[in-house]
Amino acid sequence: MAEIAFQNVTKSYGATVAVNDASFTVADNEFFCFFGPPLSGKSTILRLILGLEKPDSGEILIDGKRVNDTTPAARNIAMVFQNLALFPHMTAAENVRFPLVERHEPADKIATRLQDVAEKLHIAHILHKMPGQLSGGERQRVAIARALVRDPAAYLMDDPISALDARLREETRVELKRIQREAGRTLIYVTHDQEEAMSVADRMAILERGILRQIGRPVEIYDHPATTYVAQLLGSPGVNILSARRMGATYDLADGALQLTAPDGLAGVTELGLRPEDLRVTPWQGGTGRPATVTEVEPLGGYTVVTLAAGPTPLRALMRGQPDIRVGAEVALTCDPAQVIYFGDKGQALSRIGGERL
């Protein structure tokens, strides 16, 4: 089992704590993503896994063995760099073979491994070409093949596609996911793009300034975030966080523009999280409560982002397609209570949490 585990790992640089008591386990063959804003410790964790840094405290285990003192070369973890770093003067085949040749592996083993990996990544037909003759996608596959030819426990990627055009990013992340599935190896991936993380990861870990906040499947974390911070990190447009005023059996939100039945047995709710796609907007037709006013309409083609003024914080709703809605219109807001996320006074979720909360 090529599992990678951290147990209470801490790493500081001088006065700054880059990684704070991190514990997690990456399962075999998993596409595991570390996600968080810049300087949240993602790259430091990668460096600790690789062995380029030693933890100040805690244990790092690969395949059940403690590797704190093992050199990077001996750890059997491969890294694919953002710029791919293919040797331009060698053919694709020579590039892929390189790690094994360097280790003086026997020739027949090298040949077998090369063929194995080339088949898995569908690059057998371009092995004879030079990197300069390959397309971007092909070069990426060669780089990954080179990482996998050593049969590593896992391979790592640090923000590999952020430098690409938006359209190319969308296509490449699907490619990377496919490759990981076909190659069947653990991939540990770092990104700060929430859409990318949710698209590719089997499981992801959310980091806030060196602290792991939540680990789980992207869907779980999205639907059931552990804290307001996590809730706000995922989703575009971002989640609406409203202060909740309890009035008997209902919550009065946004100065009366939205009212929700309070679920039983949930005490200490100070804030509610409402995803824009869960906020239903309909034309105001009188009745109880108050209307909200549309302050901005952003038509994005497939859906429309509507900004509403209701209460102290503006709300955003995501409407399907191109509805006929104008700035200044008065609308009624509704929402299914089951899709609401309830938070306490310290920002922690009171309702169900997806994955593990830490």
């Binding site: 055009d165 938006a166 699907v174 496919r178 698209s199 995922l234 575009s236 952003e298 083609g301 982002v305």
Partner: protein, 363 residues
């Protein structure tokens, strides 16, 4: 506050033509996005508007002034570079005040206007800090403030958000839009991110390989793309385009997609645009504009990949040479390997000539 007219603009660098005969008018006070992939000529166009490059042919007019021969220092243009080009050896204040000092405004005026701009951009507390080492978010505001303080009639921004990581981009987009509303200048914005363009622009000029593909409001371009490039480039994901030939059926005209079967019958306006036997066409519909139908109806394609991204689920369909994507709200039941039966909204279907790539219109 000026309109910009680009007339017959061509730009060559040696044997390479970066821009081929571009005609575009940017209205006074408009936020126009120049959108396209790397190398499409958008930055070249903007550099010519600023005066950093001169056209090989054609001319640029600000209002009714021909800009030929006017050096870049005298065009009254504000420019925000992709990497902001902040004077890192100066403080924030010195950056903001640079233009005013260079044009020798009186000291009290400089002080007053610098303070006003800093307040507007929430830079007041940072005024006397060295600009080196500040976060990208702040540098962007300094870059904008430095240009805006000169009150230029025209504001040019060259991919200012490409250096910003994804998390901040949404925040900065909103800020930029607010700024444009506040200053009310004519703004030209270069980007390769279609979502950025759709969110911020009044009109978008889509470009590819030096050629202007289409100009229109975001919804116009989204709903009625002029050709295949625009259809694919706009939208996240881009439009589905399936190859087929028009055939007559009992209920009207439909497109025969080969192994994928027949599409639903075309509406009369769409049918008017094609004729059986006229040659292959591309049947287009946007991923968000499909609905799930019963087993025996619509089109059937296997699901090869499921992408759950927050509010939406993107289904990748199709194993063979023809693939498609559909986007749905997060409903359960989508699994890799299952067959999806779906039909595009009839009114959302768009047809394109397979040979030329242009949209086929039925009137």
């Amino acid at each position: 506050m000026t309109a910009i007219h680009l007339q017959n603009l061509v730009k060559r660098f040696g044997p390479f033509t970066a821009l081929k005969t571009m005609d575009l008018t940017i209205e006074n006070g408009e936020f126009m996005a120049l959108l396209g992939p790397s190398g499409c000529g958008k930055s070249t166009t903007m550099n010519m508007i600023a005066g950093m490059e001169s056209p090989s042919e054609g001319r640029i007019m600000f209002g009714d002034r021909d800009m030929a021969g006017v050096p870049m220092g005298r065009r009254g243009v504000g420019f925000v570079f992709q990497n902001y080009a902040i004077f890192t050896h100066m403080t924030v204040r010195q950056n903001l005040a640079y233009g005013l000092r260079a044009t020798r405004r009186p000291a009290d005026e400089i002080a007053r206007r610098t303070k006003a701009m800093a307040d507007l951009l929430q830079l007041t507390d940072l005024l006397d800090r060295p600009s080196a080492g500040l976060s990208v978010n702040i540098l962007q505001r300094v870059a904008i403030g430095r240009s805006a303080i000169m009150e230029p009639a025209i504001f040019l921004l060259d991919e200012p958000l490409s250096n910003v990581d994804a998390a901040f981009r949404a925040v900065m987009r909103t800020e930029l839009k607010q700024l444009q509303r506040t200053f009310k200048q004519t703004m030209v914005y270069v980007t390769h991110d279609q979502l950025e363009a759709m969110t911020m622009a009044d009109r978008i000029a889509v470009m590819d390989h030096g050629v202007l593909q289409q100009v229109g409001t975001p919804l116009e371009i989204y709903n009625n793309p002029a050709n295949l490039f625009v259809a694919r480039f706009i939208g996240s994901p881009g439009m589905n385009l399936l190859q087929g030939t028009p055939v007559e059926t009992a209920r009207g005209l439909a497109i025969d997609l080969g192994p994928l079967g027949l599409t639903p019958t075309l509406l009369p306006e769409q049918a008017a645009a094609v004729r059986p036997g006229k040659g292959p066409v591309l049947y287009g519909f946007r991923p968000e504009q499909a609905t799930i139908v019963g087993d025996a109806q619509g089109m059937a394609m296997p699901v090869t990949f499921v992408e759950r991204i927050g509010a939406r689920t993107i289904l990748h369909l199709g194993n063979g040479p023809q693939t498609a994507k559909t986007v749905f709200e997060n409903e359960a039941g989508f699994e890799q390997g299952k067959i999806l039966h779906f039909a595009p909204h009839p009114a959302a279907v768009r047809l394109f000539d397979a040979a030329t790539g242009t949209a086929l219109k039925g009137h």
